[in-house]
Structure formats: structure tokens, C-alpha cells
């Protein structure tokens, strides 16, 4: 193993360090292993594009609403102008927003798939993110197929102030309409899903699936520690904890996720038989 890795070390950027065990691994090796550490089994956070690759059936994903993006209506500046943060996020991810929409099949089942990108400003939800999520719901209603949203987000985007907060109600409202049409919504939670994203569409799935050990909660652990003035128990706000408390349906290994999404799309589909 050590020898094998040494050989390829020429291309530095092709190596990624595992936060779990500290070892470094070759990108291709990780990719083949669904971005799971071969040594300690830690899950790497993955980009929306890579998530789509391991979720949608090969070659089926057709992106829509690709050009929707935020325009910094508040002209927000903290230590750095929001405009600059946005530019960085766009060049880093190659995407224009913190969510990617597409139509695809998963495990053979047609659906609308929306995937949040944690690499894009922490997956935070701004007004354009909210708009894209609503359009995903509307697309599902138009095509009469199910909706799958894969979340990874720190919550609402502070640099858009109240405009970002309102997206929580807007997207939840759209989901209420989807529900009335009898179309399924599968919510998939990945590390991390917190704040205004957890407290809106992420928790509204007809079924809620989560990757193992993902951080999921309303308040961030640091805020809770500061409020109560003591440390938090081991495993608090992790997927397994939420499963135990009754807030998610199944904890699913990354490799099995498409199969599970497919199962539920079939259970809830309009076709009577498999």
C-alpha cells in the first residue's frame, strides 16, 4: 500500500487527506470506493457533481435551471464582500449556486434530483437556491414523477439576510403542493444538514434517509454548548442519534443509497406493481 501510494505522489493535487485517520489517498482510489476512506471507513464530503455521479443511473442526469444565480441584492459586506465570496465559490465548484437540479433515473426510477453542494458557501441557502428548489418541485409536478433532494448545508445564507430566511417557507410551501398531488418526496441527509435547511425541506420528506454519522440538527453543536455551558454527549446530533430519537427512517450506507431511493420511489409510485 505504502509503495503504491509513493509512486503516484507526483501529482500532488490528486491526493486527498482523510479527516478520520489522517492518511492520504489517491483520488481515483477514493472515487472507486464511493469517497469512503479505505482505511478507517470515514465518509468524505463530496461535491454535488460527484454525488450525482454515484446517485443517478449512468448517463441519465439532465441538468436544468443551470444559469440561476444570486445577485447580492443587499450589497452585503462583512470582512469580505459577498460578491467576492460568490466569485470564489463559483470558480471553486464550477457551479453557479449551492444546488444542482436535474431529471434522471435512480435505480431505474425516473425522478427529479436536486443535490446541494457544501463546497459552495457551505451549501447555504440563498434566494436563488430556494428558487431552484421550488423549480425542482414544480418540475416534478409537471412530469408527475417523484422528487429527491440530497442535502448538505450549514443552513440559510446570512449574506442575504431575510431573503434567505424566507426560502424556508417558500420551499416548504412548494412541498405542500407536491404532497397534495400525491407525488413522493425522498429527503436524503448528508454531513452536515443543519440550521434553516434542516428546519425546512430536509425534515419534510415522505421518508428521510441519512448517511451514517452525518451531523444533523437545528442548532450547531457550538451554539448549544455555549447556551447550556457544557460539552455535548458523544454521537449527539449524528444520524444514528436521530434514528434512535425517531426523526429519520433509515441510515443507509453510501453505496446502497441509490438502491434505497429506488425502493421508496417504487413503493410510492402511481404504478400498482413493481
Amino acid at each position: 500500500m505504502a509503495l503504491f501510494r509513493k509512486k503516484k505522489k507526483k501529482e500532488e493535487n490528486k491526493w486527498i487527506k482523510c479527516k478520520g485517520c489522517g492518511d492520504t489517498f489517491y483520488v481515483e482510489e477514493l472515487e472507486q470506493n464511493h469517497w469512503i476512506c479505505p482505511k478507517c471507513s470515514s465518509y468524505f464530503r463530496i461535491s454535488a457533481n460527484n454525488r450525482i455521479k454515484i446517485t443517478a443511473d449512468e448517463g441519465t442526469f439532465k441538468e436544468f435551471d443551470k444559469r440561476i444565480t444570486t445577485k447580492d441584492p443587499l450589497e452585503f459586506t462583512d470582512l469580505k464582500p459577498y460578491k467576492d465570496r460568490l466569485k470564489d465559490a463559483v470558480s471553486k465548484t464550477g457551479n453557479k449556486e449551492a444546488v444542482i437540479n436535474g431529471v434522471c433515473t435512480i435505480d431505474g426510477e425516473p425522478c427529479v434530483l436536486s443535490v446541494m453542494d457544501f463546497a459552495f458557501l457551505g451549501g447555504s441557502m440563498g434566494y436563488a437556491t430556494g428558487e431552484k428548489l421550488i423549480r425542482a418541485v414544480e418540475k416534478a409536478m409537471k412530469l408527475r414523477i417523484g422528487l429527491v433532494i440530497i442535502s448538505s448545508s450549514g443552513g440559510a445564507r446570512m449574506q442575504e439576510g431575510i431573503l434567505s430566511l424566507m426560502q424556508m417557507e417558500r420551499v416548504s410551501a412548494a412541498l405542500a403542493l407536491l404532497g397534495k398531488k400525491g407525488l413522493p418526496y425522498i429527503s436524503v441527509l448528508t454531513d452536515p444538514t443543519t440550521g434553516g435547511v434542516a428546519a425546512s425541506f430536509s425534515m419534510l420528506g415522505d421518508v428521510i434517509l441519512a448517511e451514517p454519522k452525518a451531523l444533523i440538527g437545528f442548532a450547531g453543536p457550538r451554539v448549544i454548548e455555549q447556551t447550556i455551558g457544557k460539552g455535548l454527549p458523544e454521537g449527539f446530533q449524528r444520524s444514528e442519534f436521530l434514528l434512535e430519537k425517531g426523526f429519520i427512517d433509515v441510515v443507509v450506507e453510501r453505496k446502497d443509497m441509490p438502491k434505497y431511493i429506488g425502493k421508496f420511489l417504487r413503493y410510492f409510485s402511481e404504478n400498482v406493481k413493481k
Binding site: L74, T77, G130, I162, L165, A176, S202, I224
Partner: protein, 316 residues
């Protein structure tokens, strides 16, 4: 009574005027000129200090310890009010008041955050920060309101949903999310009044209505100015900058198209005259009812969807 620093000159001069009047009454001397001079001084102070309040002062007024809270509005606006309690699953949350009564002769269901009036009361009310049970109690009331066709009025005033271990264990995020869903789905008119502090998701949980009014000196934001400062500026010194940058005032929200109306406050703030502000709030509610109550369920829901579907799209 608590007086904030920038309010002091006003209270001092009001006290002087009152003392002078009392003395004049007692001793029968003519102090008309002196009083007129003081009144003019008072008006100047009001003009300087209160007519164009800066955001740091607005934040302070929105959180003023004397500010009227949900129960104060209920007392002045709602007749024959009965509070109901509990989420039927875990407990009763004292940070949120729910109940039924009448505004004029119209039946109403009331939901509102409740802060405490003093330290002891605040501990009981958890400073107006609800746990999941509070939101689930409002869900019960929304279902009842729909079942018996009663319009809903909400009063929003919370620093935010409570960030605690128990709150997370019992699904704070699910509780808020379900509220957002149900507030949209409910087939009766929903009128929202932001009365003080609209703190993030914990506020929005009871603020997804057909008509949203906001008191002139209340605030409403995605995170508290202090929280924003500590995350984005990485210190606690920039909460005023954060409040300004996030545009948390009623005027800002109106310009951004997020609220429908600004409810005028008495000079110096709602805490200076409870009856006057209650009257203004009542006028907003009845006006909203006049518009919403005649609508069919379908029209009401279509209009509600249009409102939320279009919100913030002007910036795309």
C-alpha cells in the same frame, strides 16, 4: 420601569413637565410659559432622537424590556380569550401562547411567542425561546382552526428557537419544518404581526401567513445581529454592522417585499403607549380580515401561493 440610555433625556424632560404641572396645581401659580418652553424642548428631543432612529436603537427598542408582548395585545384586542395548553405528546411550552377568542365579533385562533416581564417570569417563559413542544402546540391549534373554520392571528417575538440538548432530541428542526408546511397548507386566513424580535426559523415557524404586518421598530432576520457578527466578523464587536448589513428593520423588509405593511408605533416606541399600539395592531388585523375572510378556500390558497411563490423573485 426600565429606561434605555438614549431615552433618558425624554423621560427627564417629561418628569420636569409633570412636576411643574403638579406644582402649579398645588400652589396656583402660572407656569404656562415655562411649560411651553419645556414642551418645545421635548419636541426637539423627539425629533432628534426618535424620528430617524438608527438601526442600533431600533434593535434596542425591539428588545425593550417594557415592550408589549403577546399577552398584552391579547388583553387589549381579544375578547373572551381562553388559553389552551400542551402538545399532547410531551409537555406545555410556556414560551408560546395559544388560545381562542374574538376580535370584534369575529372568532379567532391566537398563536404567539411570549417573553417574560421580569427575571422570574423570563425563566418561566424561557425568554420567549420555544422548544419543539411549543411549535407542536401551535400545530394542534392550526388543525383545530381549520376544523372549525377559524382564522388565525399570530404574534411574533422571539430571539429564536431554543438551542438545547432536549430541543434537539425532540426534533426542533422537524417541529419548525412541520410548522412551515402547515402554515402554508391550512385552509383558513392567517394574519401575522411581528411585534418585537423576529429571530430566524423560530420566528418564521409562526410567520408564514397571508398578510404579514410588522411593527415600525421591530426587527426580523435570518440570525441575530450578535450571531452574525460572531460568525462573519469572527468577533462580538460588529453586531450593529451586522444588523445594518442584513437590513433587519421594518422599513428594510417592506422595501425588500417580504412584509405587507408597517404598523406605526407611538413616538419613542410601542412601550410608551400600550393602548395606542394595540389599537394600530387591531386595525391591521381587522383590515386584513376584511380582505381575506370573503375569499373562497381555493382563492385564499391560490393567493397565498402567489404571494410566497413570487417573494424574492424580483432579485433573480
Amino acid at each position: 420601569m426600565l429606561v434605555l440610555d438614549f431615552e433618558k433625556p425624554l423621560y427627564e424632560i417629561e418628569e420636569k413637565i409633570n412636576n411643574l404641572k403638579a406644582m402649579a396645581n398645588e400652589k396656583g401659580i402660572d407656569v404656562l410659559q415655562e411649560i411651553e418652553a419645556l414642551e418645545e424642548k421635548k419636541n426637539n428631543i423627539i425629533k432628534q432622537e426618535f424620528e430617524n432612529l438608527t438601526i442600533d436603537k431600533i434593535v434596542k427598542i425591539a428588545r425593550h424590556p417594557n415592550r408589549p408582548y403577546t399577552l398584552d395585545y391579547i388583553e387589549r384586542i381579544v375578547t373572551d380569550f381562553t388559553e389552551i395548553h400542551g402538545d399532547r405528546v410531551f409537555s406545555d411550552d410556556h414560551a408560546i401562547i395559544t388560545g381562542f377568542g374574538y376580535i370584534n365579533s369575529q372568532k379567532v385562533a391566537i398563536l404567539g411567542h411570549q417573553k417574560g416581564k421580569n427575571t422570574k417570569d423570563n425563566l418561566y417563559r424561557n425568554f420567549g425561546m420555544s422548544n419543539p413542544e411549543g411549535y407542536r402546540k401551535t400545530q394542534r391549534v392550526m388543525k383545530l382552526a381549520q376544523k372549525f373554520n377559524i382564522p388565525i392571528v399570530t404574534f411574533v417575538d422571539t430571539p429564536g428557537a431554543y438551542p438545547g440538548i432536549g430541543a434537539e432530541e425532540r426534533g426542533q428542526s422537524e417541529a419548525i419544518a412541520r410548522n412551515l408546511y402547515m402554515m402554508f397548507e391550512t385552509e383558513v386566513p392567517v394574519v401575522v404581526v411581528v411585534t418585537g424580535e423576529g429571530g430566524s426559523g423560530g420566528a418564521l415557524a409562526i410567520a408564514g401567513g397571508d398578510k404579514v404586518g410588522m411593527l415600525e421598530f421591530s426587527i426580523y432576520g435570518v440570525i441575530s445581529p450578535e450571531g452574525c457578527s460572531s460568525i462573519l466578523w469572527r468577533d462580538t464587536e460588529h453586531s450593529v454592522d451586522a444588523a445594518r448589513a442584513m437590513r433587519v428593520g421594518a422599513q428594510d423588509l417592506y422595501e425588500l417585499g417580504v412584509i405587507d405593511e408597517i404598523i406605526k408605533e407611538p413616538l419613542g416606541g410601542a412601550h410608551r403607549n400600550y393602548d395606542e399600539i394595540a389599537g394600530n395592531v387591531k386595525a391591521f388585523i381587522t383590515k386584513s380580515f376584511d380582505e381575506l375572510l370573503p375569499l373562497s378556500k381555493k382563492k385564499l390558497l391560490d393567493k397565498r401561493w402567489k404571494k410566497w411563490r413570487e417573494m424574492t423573485t424580483q432579485f433573480l
